[in-house]
């Protein structure tokens, strides 16, 4: 048996974790050096989060040993983990919205005076010290509900540091951040390791691994694959290690052959929940056989645009037609029946009924149509057969999941179910909103291929994404949205990232 080595902040050896007969982790190992950023790379459901939950004491491993600073430890629960200097920042923040930053940080770990009264002053001072030391830029007196997502994340990091964390686990830390916030986070991470702390990031974004990490451990289907120094390997190689076969990071496609107009939006005005205009006179055309990508920063009217197309919210003004037929301000069923399929942004809220089985979700829009029901009686067998074809075509895992609750599937596999379902509707126009959010490279490749295949079949495709790379790579026409309007449109390849980036930030309006 390997013994601990005090050069390492954490060593996990031979970790095995079973859920019933299923091995989530099998003889998995991870060694993280002090003063380094170590990324843990793997596909959706590969076991990254399970491994970290074992380290943080949320799960107990069935086999294996954990060493912290060379000392063997038995992490029975998160309190033991915290006492051993492990801090975890979850993907979904665990903060009390109505509390201030300081109150959130000391929650559960209050500094008290002799009489048992919370010493806010002292706590605030300690927090400010940490803020200053690592350049965290957090206002200790602001309420959580008033600060940005990026700052909320820094509060989570502060919380861990305040409890004396020497090893920080960041679960997909950049999933919710803007590009500028990602930069800030990277610089904070470097400040932390300069101080001798160690960081583990769970991610499947290759770019960030290259930008941030020293070392990368790859995990596939619960098993250890390799640990590589990041500077020596290319993104391509990392992707291949993660997926197990060669992956194309650049999208392969032939030039588009656009046909007649399918979706036409004219002078559309839509108000948001706060009754303010979010879409302000938007014009957009999507034709057969082309992919139009809308590039833009979240919150520039994309959500309202999709809600208006799907008739979930009423539009104030303008027109929306599909193949010449007006669909504005009708209802979702009419829109679907008019040949519009939408892969929604929020898959768990809009896309799936999590308590339904995969079989049931696969026919959510079509339960009343043949062959899934006849005269109002469901044909479960046809539903199962159809779902099985989806599962096979889109490699949904596990491959016998038809009668399982869709909520039991990993996020990536849930997305595959939605995409398969929407494509199978055989729509005239397929609208994909953030279709690859939270997916790993293998799954992203599948999604992009699917969009292009549908285009080649002569469908109109509208892609709305906050990932500029994705829009630039996949679209034939790039439309830039800012402040509820399309600022400009370009053919793919006629414009560079900087021009679009500037337009996305409203650059044109300022000169």
């Amino acid at each position: 048996m390997v013994t601990g080595n005090s050069d390492y902040a954490v060593q996990m050896h031979g970790i095995t974790k079973r859920f019933g007969a299923f091995y989530a982790l099998k003889d998995m190992s991870l060694d993280v050096k002090k003063g380094s950023i170590h990324s843990l790379l793997g596909e959706n459901g590969a076991g990254k989060s399970t491994l970290m939950n074992v380290l943080y004491g949320l799960y107990q491993a069935d086999e294996g040993e954990i060493f912290i600073n060379g000392k063997k430890v038995d992490i029975k629960n998160p309190n033991v983990a915290i006492a051993n200097g492990i801090g975890m920042v979850h993907q979904h923040f665990m903060l009390v919205e109505d509390f201030t930053v300081t109150q959130n940080i000391i929650l559960g770990n209050e500094t008290t005076s002799r009489a048992g009264i919370v010493d806010m002053k002292k706590a605030r001072k300690q927090i400010l010290d940490i803020v200053e030391k690592y350049g965290l830029a957090v206002d200790p007196d602001a309420k959580i509900c008033d600060i940005s997502v990026g700052m909320q994340q820094r509060v989570e990091i502060l919380k861990a540091l305040y409890r004396g964390a020497e090893l920080l686990i960041l679960d997909e830390p950049t999933a919710v951040l803007t590009p500028q916030e990602i930069e800030d986070l990277l610089s904070i991470m470097h400040n932390l390791i300069d101080d001798g702390k160690a960081i583990i990031i769970i991610t499947h974004k290759l770019k960030e691994i290259k930008a941030s990490s020293d070392t990368c451990t790859i995990i596939r289907r619960g098993e250890y694959i390799d640990t590589v120094p990041v500077e020596n390997v290319s993104g391509q190689e990392l992707a291949a290690l993660m997926v197990g076969h060669e992956v194309k990071l650049v999208v392969d496609k032939t030039p588009a052959k656009p046909g007649e107009t399918v979706l036409e939006i004219k002078d559309l005005v839509v108000k948001n929940e706060r009754k303010l205009e979010a879409v302000k006179g938007l014009n957009l055309t999507v034709r057969k056989g082309e992919i139009v990508g809308i590039a833009g920063i979240d919150g520039n009217g994309q959500k309202e645009l999709v809600e208006a197309i799907s008739s979930l919210v009423p539009a104030e003004k303008g027109s929306i037609t599909v193949c010449g037929k007006p669909i504005i301000n009708t209802n979702p069923r009419t829109v679907i029946d008019s040949g519009v399929s939408i892969i929604p942004e929020d898959r768990q809220k809009r896309g799936l009924v999590l308590d339904f089985t995969v079989n049931e979700n696969a026919v959510l829009e079509r339960c009343r149509k043949e062959p899934f029901s006849r005269k109002g009686i469901l044909n479960r067998k046809k539903m199962e057969e159809f779902t099985q074809t989806l599962i096979e075509a889109y490699d949904v895992r596990p491959d016998d999941c038809g009668s399982r609750r869709v909520g039991e599937l990993s996020g990536g596999n849930q997305q595959k179910v939605i995409i398969g379902r929407e494509v199978a509707m055989n729509p005239d126009i397929l609208i994909a909103v953030q279709p690859t959010r939270g997916l790993d490279v293998g799954a992203i490749e599948t999604v992009h291929k699917t969009l292009i295949r549908e285009r080649d079949k002569g469908k109109a495709v509208l892609l709305i994404s906050f990932e500029l790379d994705e829009v630039m790579n996949v679209s034939d026409t790039i439309a830039v949205i800012y402040d509820g309007k399309i600022q400009d449109t370009f053919r793919q390849g006629t414009v560079d990232e900087n021009t679009i980036g500037l337009l996305m930030a409203g650059g044109k309006n300022h000169g």
Binding site: P332, R333, L352, V353, E365, C367
Partner: protein, 374 residues
């Protein structure tokens, strides 16, 4: 070992465990109150099973709460909490009574007419809550609690009307005989018929001594029908989708508001059916002034909870509930235990059923512990 774990995780097993613990706690409470626990529980069981008459009475008592249980369960499965079952039941009773007294057609017309009146009243009353939820987003719990009280006082008002009020009682006249749904009910109207029934030991103790009626048969058929509606039809699919995730249902082109309204209409109709079968099948075949709720609808909530919202499960949960209420009476007059004891037993069982969620994790923990030592 794995098989044992699987069995332990089944909802039915957990419910049975809950019932078992309910009786244990009941025994402890009986002992604490100074009554011999084993003997008391034996009396309780005797009161349920010792004679065909008792069994028949339990079934009769259970029928309305099985039905209201199914009504509540249906709403639950579609994401609605129909606490208004009580009011819908009352309105069903009122409508059946009024129609049953006002009209006197031959049974082939009279019975469906009276039953349909109750069903329609229950459906409309549930529909009010459904409409308010669908149209204005007012929570069905708020509206139906208020509607329950309106129903109570409306029912009492009907009892005061000269056309319906039976002099020297607090209730109404019974409905016309042509609306009765007791099995072999006609035999009981003549001396000769009674004598005929008395000759057969079984019929004597069941049909003659109790109001055996067709309700239970209809309840069983309805449970199967509701199960079929929920799980085998496109309508049920839509109703459940709306219940689980309104946003996704809406996005998928399912009419959310329409389904909410339909769900409450159906749930109310089932409670109305419970009422009309109660009126047509049980003495006094009419309504009486209510000082407080009689809880037929509220007990349906408990039945639904014990049955984990399964319509088929409601049959068994309702029989258990009816058995406890009826058997509880013998506990009262044979052991002298107060009737509150039986309410405690019921409460404990419901409480333990709610607690059964902790069993699967416990099983996991024990099985994991077992493997560690192996």
């Amino acid at each position: 070992m794995d098989k044992a774990i699987k069995i332990l995780k089944k909802p039915l097993t957990m419910t049975l465990i809950a019932v078992f613990f309910g009786f244990i706690v009941a025994g402890i409470i009986l002992a604490a109150a100074g009554y011999p626990p084993v003997h008391s529980l034996a009396v309780l069981f005797d009161g349920v099973f010792s004679s065909p008459k008792h069994i028949s009475n339990v079934i009769i008592k259970s029928t309305p709460i099985i039905l209201t249980g199914i009504g509540v369960a249906f709403a639950f499965k579609t994401g609605l909490f129909n606490i208004g079952a009580e009011g819908q039941f009352i309105m069903g009773c009122v409508a059946s009574t009024v129609v049953g007294i006002l009209f006197d057609f031959p049974p082939v017309i009279q019975i469906p007419l009276v039953v349909l009146a109750g069903v329609a009243a229950g459906a409309l009353y549930g529909g009010i809550a459904g409409f308010l939820k669908a149209k204005f987003g007012i929570h069905e719990v708020l509206t139906s609690i208020m509607l329950n009280w309106i129903a109570l006082y409306f029912s009492n008002y009907i009892c005061t009307l000269n056309r319906f009020h039976k002099p020297d009682t607090i209730g109404t006249y019974p409905i016309n005989r042509s609306g009765y749904t007791m099995i072999l009910g006609n035999y009981k109207t003549t001396e000769a018929g009674k004598a005929a029934l008395a000759q057969n030991e079984f019929l004597r103790s069941t049909v003659l001594k109790t109001d055996v009626n067709v309700g239970i048969i209809i309840a069983v058929i309805l449970a199967v029908f509701i199960w079929f509606l929920l799980y085998k039809t496109a309508k049920g699919f839509e109703l459940r989708a709306v219940g689980f995730n309104k946003s996704a249902a809406e996005f998928s082109g399912i009419y959310v508001n329409r389904n909410i309204l339909h769900s409450m209409l159906i749930s109310g109709a089932i409670c109305g059916l419970a009422a009309s079968l109660y009126i047509t099948g049980n003495s006094p075949h009419g309504i009486a002034t209510l000082a407080a709720f009689e809880n037929t609808g509220f007990n349906g909530l408990s039945v639904c909870l014990i049955a984990a919202s399964s319509p088929i499960g409601c049959i068994f949960a309702g029989l258990l509930f009816g058995g406890l209420i009826y058997g509880g009476q013998s506990l009262q007059y044979e052991v002298g235990a107060p009737s509150e004891i039986i309410n405690i037993v019921i409460g404990v069982i419901v409480f333990f059923v709610a607690l059964t969620r902790i069993i699967p994790p416990l099983v996991d923990r024990f099985s994991k512990g077992g493997k560690k030592h192996a």
